[in-house]
């Protein structure tokens, strides 16, 4: 189910998602319309534009929260022209997983976008790599990231994007055991409390990177 006020983009997205084996069960131009559709027939995932009428602010997040309230099982994928750290933090704090936050640009890479939508449907978390890259590259007074090895930094960035240990292992062609060792080492070096739930882990890492 899709919600975006830009009709062309929405239609295009619906077509390629359909081509890609998704069933697009409804399209809406704003939050309330989407909410009506969700109430009538809850989908697996709702893809929502962050900036929608009437205020063109962060209506998408409010809509997502309303969807979560009426249909807790619906995965929520937020799309936006800009990715902002405070929005990501809010999504990680207010939602117990099953949310994604991506640049609209990502939709054009159909394979990876399709995979991300499926992850959100599985209650996993997806954060845009650009946002994570920005935070990892952030200059710090005394940079704790300097203590990490290059490999650990790569693992940290993937973790922040919401990837599970298994997904990280697949992405980097490593054994899951190795990734787990890296994660433990990263958390120890950064002084973070370990949490198995991915969105908690993302939140912890994002907060740490922002601090």
């Amino acid at each position: 189910m899709l919600a975006d006020d830009a009709v062309l983009f929405r239609e295009g997205m619906a077509r390629i998602l359909t081509d890609f084996g998704f069933a697009v069960t409804g399209q809406a131009g704003d939050g309330p319309a989407l909410l009506d559709l969700v109430r009538a027939d809850p989908p697996d995932v709702a893809v929502i534009d962050l900036r929608m009428p009437p205020g063109y602010a962060a209506e998408g997040i409010d809509t997502a929260a309303a969807v979560r309230a009426v249909a807790p099982d619906v995965g929520l994928m937020l799309l936006s022209q800009y990715v902002e750290v405070h929005h990501a933090l809010r999504l990680m704090t207010e939602f117990d997983g099953g949310v994604g936050y991506l640049l609209k640009d990502r939709v054009s890479d159909l394979a990876s976008f399709g995979a991300d939508v499926r992850k959100v449907a599985r209650r996993e978390t997806v954060i845009d790599p650009e946002l994570v890259a920005r935070l990892v590259a952030r200059r710090r007074e005394r940079d704790p990231l300097e203590a990490l090895t290059d490999r650990e930094r790569t693992v940290l960035a993937l973790m922040a994007q919401g990837l599970s240990n298994v997904a990280v292992a697949n992405g980097l062609h490593l054994a899951v055991k190795t990734v787990e060792a890296h994660v433990t080492s990263i958390f120890a070096k950064l002084g973070l409390a370990h949490d198995e739930r991915e969105h908690r882990r993302v939140l912890a890492v994002l907060r740490f990177l922002r601090a």
């Binding site: 830009a6 062309l8 983009f9 295009g12 997205m13 077509r15 390629i16 081509d19 900036r51 205020g55 063109y56 602010a57 962060a58 022209q81 800009y82 902002e84 750290v85 405070h86 609209k104 640009d105 939709v107 054009s108 890479d109 159909l110 920005r134 935070l135 952030r138 200059r139 710090r140 007074e141 940079d143 922002r210």
Partner: protein
């Protein structure tokens, strides 16, 4: 409201009554015995100081200076009565002992009077540093008094009829020693209080300074009359008669200093005194000087002298008045100087136009306060005030302006530009001091200039606002238009890539994929441009989120503190954002810093924004620079860009007023 007496007030009141009665009896008794010219001042000091002191203590029970006055008065009463008793021609019973009481305490009483003056108007010395001085004076007083107590060292001067009651050996040595010690001791006491008053006067601000001026004025008048009396009539009586003036002025200074303003009085006295001296001198010179050359034309010469004085009077008076104004109010610019200075103020680089107008008006008319108001007549907002340290008064209606504290406003001149009401200038002067015709004209001329400045300022504000809204609109158009189209095209391209790959056209797929990646790079660039125009995150989520983004992206580590608990006017937020943005850009480019501290905090004065780095400095507002643009932008919000740059870093700071 119930009034409860302070503990100690009742005994204080009883003590006051007793001392008052004692003084009254002593002074009246002394006068009945026949006042002697050399003793007259003691009686007058006794009566006036005790009366004023008791009045002050009654009105302000806790006032230490009041009690010092009472002490001084009572001590003088004892001396006055004792001396009159001893001076009585037919010696009265016990005259030698009672008269003795009126003589020997003199040095101690002098020290007491000195300390009273030194403690004026608070009842406390100006600082702890004066305590050793007072200790030394007391020691001097006690030594002198002890000598005078034991031997008749003061009797020749005071002309007491009754003899000193003690007849101890060593009188000759004491009589030889005493005049020397007195010649050293008394000037020391006088010097101490004169220096003390001068020091206090120099340090005093506002109220205390006003109180001191009352007092110093009275002392000066009294001393002048004393000198005049001694010189012209060879008698201290006129001077002595003015001594109560000092006490009364001091009392008024303590209790009523806000009621009557002393400056115009001093001013008039200076003019009057100087003119009297000049006229007398001129007359005397003509009549005696020329009279000696040309004998026997007394009447004619008097006429000539009168004519000369009459002709010279007005130009002289004007000069003297100007001098007196300068002495009392400080430098007051001539209208020409004022206008010349205004243009200097107006061409000054950063902001301050409105302050410049207020300062110029104040200089030109010798005002106590000048306020520049702007807005419609039914809601005028104060935008600038002189003196700059004073707080801005709350908004007023034009018709209510004359009621604005601290004192009645002398004139409220409307500021009109191009036939439209733009605001008003109000001038407050010292009570009793009005604007002269020339000053009125000057304020009128400056109001016309102010109209131009207010109009320029308003148009600058409109320009900045228009620029901002254009940027916002452009960003919105880019976001909803071009960017949206481009991501849609990228999306379609993605689908082409997939189709081509699925249908075995690997080359087409690869080519289309390369185009898609390029397209996305262009989109990313466009996104950054749009953000630079006007960050959507600022409009939507406020300053904290927007500054957070800047900090994330800064090339130099940022320590960011934001304490803004509400949304501010979009102009203010945008300006604060651009200050930080420009600051961080400059730091990255030039400073070679290792850390930037960015602070945005909402305080009573407005939004404080500062960007501080630890780099090598060298920042300045140069023509055409980003900082100049910021300064202009800030000026439209009545804020000033403060740039301090040195070898240990640069601080870019401002306070943007916001309601």
């Amino acid at each position: 409201m119930t009034r409860t007496a302070k503990p100690g007030a009742v005994p204080g009141r009883m003590l006051g009554s007793v001392l008052g009665a004692v003084t009254a009896v002593l002074v009246v008794g002394g006068f009945v015995l026949g006042p002697h010219v050399g003793n007259l001042h003691n009686g007058l000091i006794a009566a006036s100081f005790t009366a004023v002191g008791l009045y002050v203590v009654r009105r302000r029970p806790g006032n230490r200076e009041g009690w010092l006055f009472v002490a001084t008065g009572v001590a003088h009463a004892v001396m006055f009565a004792g001396r009159e008793y001893g001076l009585h021609a037919g010696p009265l019973p016990g005259a030698s002992w009672i008269g003795w009481l009126g003589v020997w305490p003199l040095p101690i009483v002098l020290v007491l009077a000195g300390v009273t003056v030194m403690s004026f108007p608070t009842g406390r010395l100006p600082s702890r540093g004066w305590r050793p001085v007072v200790g030394f004076l007391i020691a001097v007083g006690v030594v002198l008094a002890a000598v005078s107590l034991l031997w008749p060292v003061e009797y020749a001067r005071t002309e007491l009829v009754a003899a000193h009651p003690l007849h101890l050996p060593g009188a000759a040595a004491a009589v030889a020693f005493y005049p020397v010690a007195r010649a050293v001791g008394y000037p020391l006491i006088q010097l101490a209080w004169v220096v003390c008053v001068i020091v206090r006067l120099r340090r005093a601000r506002d109220d205390e300074s006003r109180q001191l001026r009352w007092f110093v004025f009275a002392v000066t008048v009294s001393a002048s009359v004393m000198v005049l009396g001694l010189l012209v009539w060879r008698t201290p009586v006129p001077g002595a008669l003015t001594v109560p003036l000092v006490a009364v002025a001091a009392g008024a200074a303590i209790l009523k200093y806000r009621l009557y303003d002393i400056d115009p009085v001093i001013n008039r006295s200076l003019v009057l005194g100087a003119m009297a001296a000049v006229v007398t001198l001129g007359y005397v010179t003509v009549v005696t000087g020329v009279g000696r050359l040309v004998d026997g034309h007394g009447t004619a010469l008097s006429l000539v002298a009168t004519a000369v004085v009459a002709v010279a009077f007005e130009p002289l008076r004007r000069r003297v008045q100007r001098l007196a104004d300068w002495l009392v109010y400080g430098h007051r610019a001539t209208p020409y100087e004022a206008l010349a200075r205004l243009s200097a103020h107006l061409s000054a680089p950063a902001g301050g136009l409105l302050d410049g107008i207020c300062t110029t008006v104040a200089d030109g008319v010798g005002a106590r306060q000048v306020v520049l108001w702007t807005g419609p007549p039914d809601e005028l907002r104060a935008v600038s005030i002189w003196p700059a340290a004073a707080p801005l008064p709350p908004p007023q209606r034009l018709t209510d302006l004359s009621a604005v504290p601290p004192a009645a406003i002398v004139v409220a001149v409307p500021v009109v530009h191009d036939g439209q009401f733009r605001g008003a200038i109000t001038v407050t002067k010292a009570p009793g001091d009005a604007l002269t015709g020339a000053e009125q004209r000057l304020v009128g001329d400056l109001a016309a200039q102010a109209g131009l400045v207010l109009e320029l300022r308003a148009s600058a504000q409109r320009l900045v606002a228009a620029g901002d809204s254009a940027r916002r609109r452009l960003e919105r158009d880019l976001h909803d238009g071009v960017q949206q189209r481009l991501v849609t095209v990228a999306l379609e391209l993605g689908s082409v890539v997939r189709l081509a790959a699925a249908s075995g056209h690997a080359k087409v797929a690869a080519g289309a994929e390369a185009v898609r990646v390029d397209l996305l790079a262009a989109t990313a660039e466009l996104r950054e441009m749009a953000r630079g125009l006007h960050p959507a995150v600022l409009t939507q989520d406020g300053l904290e989120a927007a500054l957070g983004f800047l900090a994330d992206r800064s090339a130099v580590p940022v320590r960011l503190t934001v304490a803004v608990d509400r949304r501010l006017p979009s102009q203010v937020e945008a300006t604060a954002y651009f200050v930080v943005s420009e600051g961080l850009t400059n730091v990255a480019k030039h400073a070679g810093a290792s850390l930037v501290t960015v602070r945005a905090e909402l305080t009573g004065a407005g939004l404080v924004v500062e960007v501080v780095d630890d780099g090598r400095g060298g920042a300045a507002v140069r023509p055409g620079s980003g900082l100049e643009g910021l300064a202009d932008r800030l000026a439209t919000l009545d804020a000033r860009l403060d740039v301090r740059s040195g070898p240990f870093g640069t601080r870019l700071g401002t306070v943007i007023p916001c309601a």
